[in-house]
Symmetry: C2
Subunit: 525 residues, 2 copies
Amino acid sequence: MSKLVRSAMPLFAAATMLATSALAAPPGTRPDIRIAEGPAFSMASIPAYKGDHKDIYAYIDAHKAEDVANLQRWVRQPSVSAQNIGIKEMAALAAADLKKIGFKEAEVVPTSGHPGVWGYYDAGAAKTLAVYMMLDVQPVEEKDWQVKPFDGALVDHPLGKVLMARGATNTKGPERAFLNAVEAIIATRGKLPVNLMILAECEEELGSIHYPELIAKYADRLKTAAGSIYPGGGQSPADGAVAMQLGNKGVLYIELEAKGSATGGGPQKAEIHSSWKATTDAPAWRLAQALATLTTADGNTILVPGYYDSIRQPNAEERSLFNGTLPGWTKREVNTRKSFAIDHWYDKMDARASLTRYLFDTTLNIDGLSSGYDGPGMKTILPHRAFAKLDSRLVPDQTPEESLRLIKAHLVAKGFSDIEVRQLSGYPPSQTSVSAPLVQAVLATYNKYGLPVDVSPRSGGSRPSYVFTKTLGIPDVTLAIGHGADAHAPNEYLLIDPKPGSKVFGLSAMEKFYVDTLYALAATK
Amino acid sequence: MSKLVRSAMPLFAAATMLATSALAAPPGTRPDIRIAEGPAFSMASIPAYKGDHKDIYAYIDAHKAEDVANLQRWVRQPSVSAQNIGIKEMAALAAADLKKIGFKEAEVVPTSGHPGVWGYYDAGAAKTLAVYMMLDVQPVEEKDWQVKPFDGALVDHPLGKVLMARGATNTKGPERAFLNAVEAIIATRGKLPVNLMILAECEEELGSIHYPELIAKYADRLKTAAGSIYPGGGQSPADGAVAMQLGNKGVLYIELEAKGSATGGGPQKAEIHSSWKATTDAPAWRLAQALATLTTADGNTILVPGYYDSIRQPNAEERSLFNGTLPGWTKREVNTRKSFAIDHWYDKMDARASLTRYLFDTTLNIDGLSSGYDGPGMKTILPHRAFAKLDSRLVPDQTPEESLRLIKAHLVAKGFSDIEVRQLSGYPPSQTSVSAPLVQAVLATYNKYGLPVDVSPRSGGSRPSYVFTKTLGIPDVTLAIGHGADAHAPNEYLLIDPKPGSKVFGLSAMEKFYVDTLYALAATK
């Protein structure tokens, strides 16, 4: 139901639940998003970047060992934001590197949470580019890894020699590779073709809670940038395809807690002997029951009333991008499933359906469940507390505020007012147009290398790029060259030396690509 | 519906779901158990035990310090069966104690799991008594304790000086107190008035999986016993009341696992980035959804079809015992709730209703939930596995086999055949008649001390006493003197020195009671 129709209703009718629900879609009704075949964005419409920078490429080839060592230094410094492990040290290390490279300003910037890092490189150039970086990583379960996750080991992999470590691909590896490229340009040419404003955070894996603080501090200067880039992401090993994701989903991250209370019953102080279940309310059951009301039995459709209502239909550019990227996804999706050991997407969706959901659907995911005893064998207790961590990925025009409100209202309506809902993070989706000069320059560079490029309206993941596109109003692009995998999982890696005949770039090729990108950007009108 | 009616149906009709479910009670329908006021068992019907053993009491008073030290030795030896911590050492310690006390046979007995301990004391007496002991304890969460749980600390408590340690009341404390009494008799009188067969296990907290093996090994000798006693349980601090529980519920302990699979979808190898929820089945949702089908929204009524069907109505003895014990429960239940920090029983049940459920109702309890990330802050993952541990307490005539079958069939019928159900333990309920001479002798001893006694048909908890009442066919009684609390919880304790005016026995009084009990038993016909 459109907001126009709703606001045209007499207020007294709109205010009654019955009248509203009679007009609104039933809970669990997704907007019917079906994109017909039609105009498809094509890379053929973009002329290839012609620049060639042999002197810089030669420098990169000659300094391979130092460049690998730089990545190892970065991943060997643990920086687990969720557990506050090594964050300060990582920020100091990054700031020191910037200073050494030649950034006039290079400083650790305190926030209300973990610090960030600001760096300004003054090339005296006409154009300025903002660079987003994240210096933190996900927690690790060391026992699941084949190497120690912070050893920075070089490992033989079917694709070639890889750097296997937490942060190798998400995202300290590509970020330090970008700085290697910057170093190579300065060493060869004396200075960069653009000015750089690097603003790094150490809380991406916590939902970038304080990145807006960092942005606010430098907003006046950042607004002068032609756009913002993020050296992350990677190529598909099957065909070398790169993904140009022009935005990302937003996120709402919440924690649900059921506990013994005066209203909910149950023990309030500690677990009790499980024989008392005969007479006693159990928070763990309340949590399971509350969770179950949130989705259909298969866990794939959200039953919170109104949750899908603010999702808008894809616009013309998004439809064109969808049709342009579908063939690439159709080729990649089997390998993607294989890499996750997933037999089939839910409902056995085909490539078109799964891509539609990946790009245009919201999600509600359980990141963690915990209550009572989870050790080996048995413990017969009635736990007094039970927790679930959930994240919801948000698409236009969802907002974290509205999504949270709907979930809370639904739980209350279903009789679960005893369940506490705490927001841990939330920010809106973000989008950049494919027509932005920044985007066109990056695409031109991909074309120079003849790479298959999937230009997609957004990633299914989240990062706080809304601060660039919404707060600062500048375009924002992720560079997606090179190959890594298992971000957020054990044995995360970044490919350093591909085997001969490989379709994907290794470290040195990534760096040359970054060099080209900076010159291509400098040349835009 | 009775089994007679069902078996009288034509086979073809009984075999169809529709015909069966048309006759069976709808899922979630408990047997309507309402016990009217009527004949009530009264302790006044039992003459008090007249024996007086001043010489032995004096010995106990004189050896208080050694007796406390014996309890401390036992609780200082960790014996966490679920984590295999200190089990061997505890068994060896107990066997050595028996040998030292004068048991002719005293040995650690291997089983397919943790070992047991057998001890035989030959008094040349006409009567033999079997003694059940458990030497294992629940796991601990040390951070929740006010003292180290295996330090055997003596702590000042509102009730007096207590031994605060894991196992203090459940049940190494009372067991070693019983052995103190045995030592006192032998030291004073030269020998016991009865022969003793002690058979201890180290797996009670694991569901006594291998106790039947131990029983089988000594069955021929144990069958000659007049009955079996278990020195466990305790008095209410409010009025000194003791609970004589003439049996216990059985138990079914299961683990549910949802995981990525070819049939269920979802990642099979490791957690994946949560953005893929847009296209991917999630085991954690499947677990939550499967759990939710098992109970009503409040978590207090089991919706597994047939689950309540085999529960029989209380018989005449049980009704009389219920009416006899209700006044005591009515006095105690507020304090019980207070000790657990529970505001009210579920459905705000009164004393009569809560006692009915505690004694005659089955349960389904969540002991633990686990999936994905449960640390501080956020991790955005889609976990590939999710677990729930559940226990169900069983009343006559439920069996663990049938209960497990019904749960499995229900999950399959609800479309959750992707959920794996593993049984970790299971045994039937057990019951002893109040008219057994063993029971009468113990009740007579309580009457000697003028204690309020609640004689109840069973405990809401479980222990493997079916091996005595069903396998061996001998009566079985728990001795419930002294006071402890927080079994299975932090700060478990046993009262050693009550404050003046206390209604409950301390350690020496417990030991004197055990002395009387053994002589009272020896005197039964």
